[in-house]
Structure formats: structure tokens, C-alpha cells
């Protein structure tokens, strides 16, 4: 209500979006809460994998809507999120950080895939803008006999950096400027501060890894869609 009132007062024209966000978050989280309750009670890994797969698909669809200038963005995003989730969860389980049970894999998987989605969406959004703005430079480089990979490299690098920088910056300032959600949740639930910090650090490092993997895979696959197999930039302008 307060957010909607401020938006109305300042004519930010966000009242409708705030209303939708409020209702959707309530409905979605309630539904997910019940789904997770069922999965916890069933305690079978197949259901966990099914839920994570659904998250990956919806994450890729959501990120695609932020990467409209990237042709065929869905598959790079889907592969990026799946790899980021599988690698990160596989690593924390293999290192014995978490037990491979629904109680750990579902919440951690959700965080990993969610952050990977945000990072890859930002990265591909930037990639689309860079490729659109730099057509002349890319074509001039291709004209010298550079491969598509060589011609796109500076723009892929910038896109990857954009995708990762938010989490890197927030990780730098963790504990100084803000307390991350897991730590706050554990403190509110009565856990000791040192236990809360330990878990939060593990999660932050896992998230950094997943964001890096997602950004790298998404950009490395998506830039190819701007080029033909003959190393030509698609949708060429006529002269």
C-alpha cells in the first residue's frame, strides 16, 4: 500500500505493476509452499529434480523476455540455467556442504537458479544492445577475416561482466551495507550468528559460481545466433 501510494504521489505510474507483483507473489509463493511441503513429505529426489527442472524452464522463459534483441535466446538460457544449477548443486553436495535431500536441494536450488536467471537475463540484454549498437564495428572486423567469435569477443566480455557485476558488488558489501536473506532468516529463526554467517558464506560462494557459469554459457551460446555459418552478421542492412 505504501509503495503504491508513493508511486501515485510521485506519478511513477507503477501502481498497477505493484498491485500485480503483490498478488502474484502471494499466489506463487503460497502455491510453491504447498508444492514444497508435498515434496518434503514425499522425500524423493525425482520430485526434487522435477521441481528444479520446472524452475529452469520458467527461468529461461522469464529471462528470454529480457533478451528480446537476442535471436533464439531460449535455448542458450535453458542450457545456461540447467548447467549452472546442476554444477553448483552437484558441487555443494559432492563437497558434503549439504545432504542430497529435498530439504536442502529445493531452497538452495531455487536460489541458485533464480540468481543465474537474473544474471543471464542481464548479460543477454546487454549482449543484444551491444550487438545492435556495434554492427558497423563487428562487420568491419569480420571484413578483415576475423571469426564471429573474434569479432564478437569484446561485446561478449562486456555482456558477461554486466551479468556478474551486481552479485559481485553485493557480495563485496555483504555485512557492511546489507544482510543477505538467508542470514536474516536464520537469525530471525533463532540460529547462532556464527552458524548463520557460515551458511550464508557457503551460499554466496555457490551463487557466485552459478552466476559465472550461467553468464558464461548464456553469452557463449547466444552470440552465435547473431551470425550465419559463413561468419556473416545476420539481418544485414542494404546499401
Amino acid at each position: 500500500m505504501l509503495a503504491a501510494a508513493i508511486s501515485y504521489w510521485q506519478k511513477a505510474d507503477l501502481e498497477r505493476d505493484i498491485g500485480i507483483a503483490t498478488v502474484r507473489s502471494f499466489v506463487q509463493l503460497t502455491a510453491v509452499g504447498y508444492a514444497i511441503k508435498l515434496i518434503f513429505e514425499a522425500d524423493t529426489l525425482w520430485l526434487v529434480f522435477a521441481l528444479l527442472a520446472v524452475m529452469v524452464v520458467f527461468g529461461a522463459l522469464t529471462a528470454r523476455s529480457r533478451a528480446k534483441k537476442v535471436p533464439g535466446a531460449f535455448w542458450p538460457l535453458l542450457i545456461a540455467l540447467a548447467l549452472a544449477g546442476a554444477t553448483t548443486l552437484g558441487l555443494v553436495v559432492a563437497l558434503g556442504v549439504f545432504e542430497p535431500t529435498a530439504r536442502y536441494l529445493v531452497p538452495v536450488g531455487g536460489m541458485v537458479i533464480g540468481n543465474a536467471m537474473t544474471a543471464s537475463a542481464v548479460a543477454l540484454n546487454r549482449l543484444g544492445d551491444e550487438m545492435a549498437d556495434s554492427r558497423a564495428k563487428i562487420e568491419a572486423t569480420l571484413a578483415l577475416g576475423a571469426t564471429a567469435q573474434q569479432a564478437a569477443a569484446p561485446f561478449v566480455r562486456r555482456a558477461l561482466r554486466s551479468g556478474m557485476i551486481t552479485l559481485v558488488d553485493s557480495t563485496k558489501t555483504t555485512g557492511l551495507i546489507f544482510f543477505p536473506g538467508t542470514m536474516v532468516g536464520m537469525l530471525l529463526a533463532g540460529a547462532s550468528p556464527t552458524d548463520a554467517v557460515r551458511l550464508q558464506l557457503v551460499l554466496l560462494y555457490a551463487l557466485l559460481g552459478s552466476v559465472a557459469i550461467a553468464g558464461l554459457v548464456a553469452t557463449a551460446l547466444a552470440y552465435r545466433n547473431f551470425f550465419t555459418s559463413a561468419q556473416q552478421l545476420r539481418e544485414l542492412e542494404s546499401g
Binding site: A136, K137, E139, A140, T141, L142, A143, L144, G145, A146, T147, Q150, P154, A230, Q231, Q232, L233, L236, E237, S238, G239
Partner: protein, 218 residues
């Protein structure tokens, strides 16, 4: 013939940018002339496979262009686009990049001199060059690959008269010093007359005429 185009068409959206173009381009200096939107730049891009035609065939030295490996072809048939588009860094780093792609030893001073730039330009940041200097740096970058053919898209369109005259003098000197063929796009018939010895005239995507410049532009 250096290039031969046979019934070449290229369609973008609902527009026929090139419409059944048939023309021969011999070794030497050829000017592709015509009004804005005639398809001149598009034709140039087809010659080093930055784009492929939707119909028709192009041969280069008697062999279909489609059979050439695009990257190797572009290092041999080098295109200098209309607007300067150098990579971030110095002039020398741009030249080194191009030479590296073509597997050539970089002779920066010679390339700069041929492009009409003082050797001091090697260490200049490209972001601080004037448009005319950037255009020359683009030419020097293409020369660093020691190409057999230079494709130049309106090389003087963004320049004032004195810079235009200087670039034209550079191109004339290039032809004298190197065994290099030049295919030049120009909207200016006088420039075509000054630089070319063969002309292909395009209008609305069609080749209207082609032949020796003294006959075509008499």
C-alpha cells in the same frame, strides 16, 4: 576477369536490393557508381562474402565465390567500410590485429606511409583521430593484410575536399606501388573518372551498364 556476376539478386524484407545483376569486374581499378540506394554497398559486401546472394552466382578468378572459405577470402579480398570502425586501442594495435589474422608480419610504418599517415600515428589512440585520419587508419589496417584486392566503400564520403583529394592521391599511389586491384564504390561520377579504369553503373538494384571508363563516361 577478377569478378563475374551472373543474374545476382539479393532481397531484404520486401525490397529487391539487387535485381538480376550481371557484370564483369576486371583486375585494375573499377568504380561502382550510381545514386544512393542503388545497391552499390550491398554489391561490394557480396564480393568478400559479408553477405551471400539469394540468387545467381559470383566468381572470383574463375571460381565460384561460394566455394571459397569466407575467412581466407576476406583476408585476400579486403573490404574497407564506408564509416570508420576501428577497434579500441592504438592505430598500431589495429594494424597488428589485422596482420595477425592474415598471418603476416606487421610492417606498420610502410602501411601507414602507403595510407598517407605519418609513422608517428602508430601509437595514437584511435578515439582521438579525426574522421579523415580514421579513414586512413582503416586503409592502413586493410593494407597490413597485404590483400590482393581492396574493396573500398565510399572512402571519401565523410571527408572535406582537401581530405578527399589526399585519399584519392593515396589510392593512386597505392596502385602505382602495389600490384593491387581496387573496387571502389562512389556516388560521385567525377571521382570514378579520376580513380577508375572500368565502371559498373547501378540503378535501383540493376546493372545499367559496365565497361571501360573512357567509353562509359565519355
Amino acid at each position: 576477369m577478377l569478378f563475374e556476376l551472373s543474374e545476382v539478386s539479393l532481397i531484404r524484407g520486401d525490397r529487391r536490393v539487387l535485381d538480376s545483376v550481371s557484370a564483369a569486374i576486371p583486375a585494375g581499378a573499377t568504380a561502382i557508381v550510381g545514386p544512393s540506394g542503388a545497391g552499390k554497398s550491398t554489391l561490394l559486401r557480396l564480393l568478400n562474402r559479408l553477405a551471400d546472394p539469394d540468387a545467381g552466382t559470383i566468381t572470383y578468378r574463375g571460381r565460384p565465390l561460394a566455394e571459397y572459405e569466407p575467412l581466407a577470402l576476406r583476408r585476400e579480398v579486403s573490404l574497407v567500410p564506408q564509416l570508420p570502425a576501428l577497434l579500441e586501442g592504438t592505430v598500431e594495435s589495429n594494424l597488428a590485429y589485422a596482420a595477425g589474422l592474415a598471418g603476416k608480419e606487421l610492417a606498420a610504418e610502410g602501411c601507414l606511409r602507403l595510407a598517407g599517415l605519418d609513422p608517428d600515428f602508430a601509437l595514437r589512440d584511435v578515439a582521438k583521430l579525426s574522421v579523415g585520419e580514421q579513414q586512413r587508419a582503416m586503409l592502413a589496417r586493410a593494407l597490413a593484410q597485404e590483400p590482393v584486392v581492396l574493396l573500398l566503400d565510399e572512402p571519401t564520403s565523410a571527408l572535406d575536399h582537401s581530405a578527399r583529394d589526399a585519399i584519392e592521391a593515396t589510392l593512386a599511389e597505392l596502385r602505382r606501388e602495389l600490384e593491387i586491384s581496387i573496387v571502389l564504390v562512389s556516388h560521385d561520377p567525377e571521382q570514378a573518372r579520376r580513380l577508375g579504369d572500368w565502371v559498373v553503373r547501378l540503378e535501383q538494384g540493376r546493372a545499367i551498364e559496365a565497361g571501360p571508363i573512357e567509353e562509359m563516361m565519355a
